[in-house]
Symmetry: C2
Subunit: 251 residues, 2 copies
C-alpha cells in the first residue's frame, strides 16, 4: 500500500513533470488509487491537470510549513482515481523557511504519513534542484525515478544526483532505492539521442527502462489544454510510450 | 564599461546556458572583452566551453563564500577575448550557506565590483530557480535577458519571474532593467511554437527580440564536444540566429 515514488533530476526541462502527470493519469485510469504531489513552485503538474486558476484553500505549502493536514490540500482531478496535492507559487518560500527548522528534511514525510495508505501509488514531481524540497521528497520516498533527456547536458548531472540519493539513503531513509532511469525526448533520427541512450545503458545497465519516451509534439501540446496525454491524444506515440513504461515500472 | 547581463528563467531547460555560452562566444570573437559567469551548480556553461574536467584551484564558489578574489577564479577559454568565472559542484551548497549571512543578496555584486571594468560585457548563466544564487545575479546586474522556450509551461512562469525582478529592482538594485525576452527552440512547423511566440509578443510587445532562436540539433550537439556553436558549426541555423540576436542586444 502507498508506495511513494519521487521523479527527480536537477537538470531542468528533462520531462519530470510530463512523466509524473502522464504516469499518474495512466495509473488512475487503470484503477489504482493514485496521488500526484506537486512539489515544484512552478506548479506545472497542477496546471498540467487543468487546475491552474483553481482557488485552492490549502496547498502543499500549508501542509509542509503550517502543519495543515495534507488531506485538506488534496483535490480531485479529471481522472477518476487520481488526486493531486496541489502546489502554488508560495511554495518558492518553503526552501528558505525550512532551512532553520529541526528535522527540516522530514516535513513532507510527516505530512504524507497519515494519508499514505489511502493510495496505491504516490508520485512526487520535484523542482529542478537538489535543495530542501527535493531532499524532503527523497526522504519521504520508497523509490526514485530519474528522467534523462536524450541530450548531452542531461548526462552530466547524473553522478551528482546518484551521490545525493546515496547520501539521503545513508543519513535519512535507508529503504530508498533507484527504481530506474527513463530516457525521454528521444529522437531516432538524431545521432546524439542514440549516443546518450548507449552511454546511459552502458553506465546504469538494467536500471535503464527498456521503454524509451520519444520526442512527441502531442506531449508538449497537452498541458496547454490542461489535459494529460491520455485524454488529449490517447493514440499518440507519447501516450503509448508512457503506457508501456507504466507496465514496466508499476507491477 | 563592464555592463552585466543576467540570463534568467526559473523554468528548466529553456536554453539559458546555450544562450549564455553562444552569445559570450560571439561577443568574444568580435573582439569585446567578455566574461561568462557560471552561477549554476550543474556547471553546464563551464563544460559547454570545454573545461569540464579542468582542475580549478578556485571557482565562483570560493569567490562568493570564501572571499577569494574573483580574478583568481577566472580562466581563459578557446575564444581569445572570452574568459570564464568557472563553477563546480560545491556551488550547490552556496544557497544554504548564504541564507544566514548579512547582505546575503550582495555577495556576487561585491565579488564582481573589482573586476567589472576589465570587461566590456559580463554574462551570468543562472540555475533554474529564483533562489539566492539568482537573486545575487539580479542584484549584481544592469540588465536581464529572459530565454523563453516556445512551449506552454515556459509561458506560465513569466509573471512570477517579472515580479521577482521588480522586487529586486525596488529593494536591492534600482537600475536593473529587462533587456528583453528571447524566444528559443522555436519550430516553424509546430503550431504551439507560433502560438507561444504570438502570446509572448502580445504580452511583452517590443521587449521580445525580433530574432527568434530556432530548434537546431547542432546547438544540442555542440556541448558534447565542449565547443560553442560558433566553433562547432558556424554556418548552422543556430549560430546564425545567435549572431543576429547579439547584434540586436549588444550595440
Ligand atoms: N517526450 C516529449 N516530447 C516532446 N516534448 C516534451 C516531451 N516531454 C516533455 N516535453 C516538453 O518539454 C518541456 C520540458 O518538459 P517538462 O516541463 O516536463 O520538464 P521538467 O523536467 O519537468 O522541467 P523543470 O525542470 O522546469 O521542472 C515541456 O514544454 C514539455 O511539454
Ligand atoms: N535552439 C535549440 N535547439 C535545439 N536544442 C537546444 C536549443 N537550445 C538548447 N538546446 C538543448 O536543450 C537542452 C536545454 O538547454 P539548456 O541546457 O541550455 O537550458 P537551460 O535553461 O540552461 O537548462 P537548466 O534549466 O537545466 O539550466 C540542452 O540539451 C541544449 O543542448
Ligand atoms: Mg517540472
Ligand atoms: Mg543551464
Amino acid at each position: 500500500m502507498g508506495e511513494i515514488y519521487s521523479i527527480v533530476n536537477q537538470k531542468g526541462g528533462v520531462g519530470k513533470t510530463t512523466s509524473a502527470v502522464s504516469m499518474a493519469a495512466i495509473l488512475g485510469k487503470r484503477g489504482n488509487k493514485t496521488l500526484l504531489v506537486d512539489l515544484d513552485p512552478q506548479a506545472n503538474a497542477t496546471s498540467g491537470l487543468g487546475l491552474l486558476d483553481h482557488r485552492f484553500t490549502y496547498t502543499v505549502y500549508d501542509a509542509l510549513i503550517h502543519s495543515v493536514e495534507a488531506s485538506k490540500a488534496i483535490y480531485p482531478t479529471v481522472i477518476e482515481h487520481l488526486s493531486i496535492l496541489a502546489a502554488s507559487k508560495d511554495l518558492a518560500g518553503a526552501e528558505i523557511e525550512l532551512v532553520s527548522e529541526f528535522n527540516r528534511e522530514r516535513f513532507l514525510e510527516r505530512s504524507l504519513a497519515p494519508i499514505k495508505d489511502q493510495f496505491d501509488y504516490i508520485l512526487i514531481d520535484c523542482p529542478p534542484s537538489l535543495g530542501l524540497l527535493t531532499i524532503n521528497a527523497l526522504t519521504a520516498s520508497d523509490w526514485v525515478i530519474i528522467p534523462v533527456q536524450a541530450e548531452y547536458y542531461a548526462l552530466e548531472g547524473l553522478a551528482r544526483l546518484t551521490q545525493t540519493i546515496d547520501m539521503v539513503k545513508k543519513a535519512l531513509n535507508p529503504q530508498l532505492q533507484i527504481r530506474g532511469i527513463m530516457i525521454t525526448m528521444h529522437d531516432k533520427r538524431v545521432g546524439l539521442s542514440r549516443q546518450v541512450e548507449d552511454e546511459a545503458r552502458g553506465y546504469f545497465k538494467e536500471k535503464v527502462f527498456q521503454t524509451v519516451i520519444p520526442r512527441n509534439v502531442k506531449l508538449s501540446e497537452a498541458p496547454s489544454f490542461g489535459e494529460p496525454i491520455t485524454i488529449y491524444d490517447k493514440k499518440s506515440k507519447g501516450a503509448k510510450a508512457y503506457k508501456s513504461i507504466v507496465k514496466e515500472i508499476f507491477l
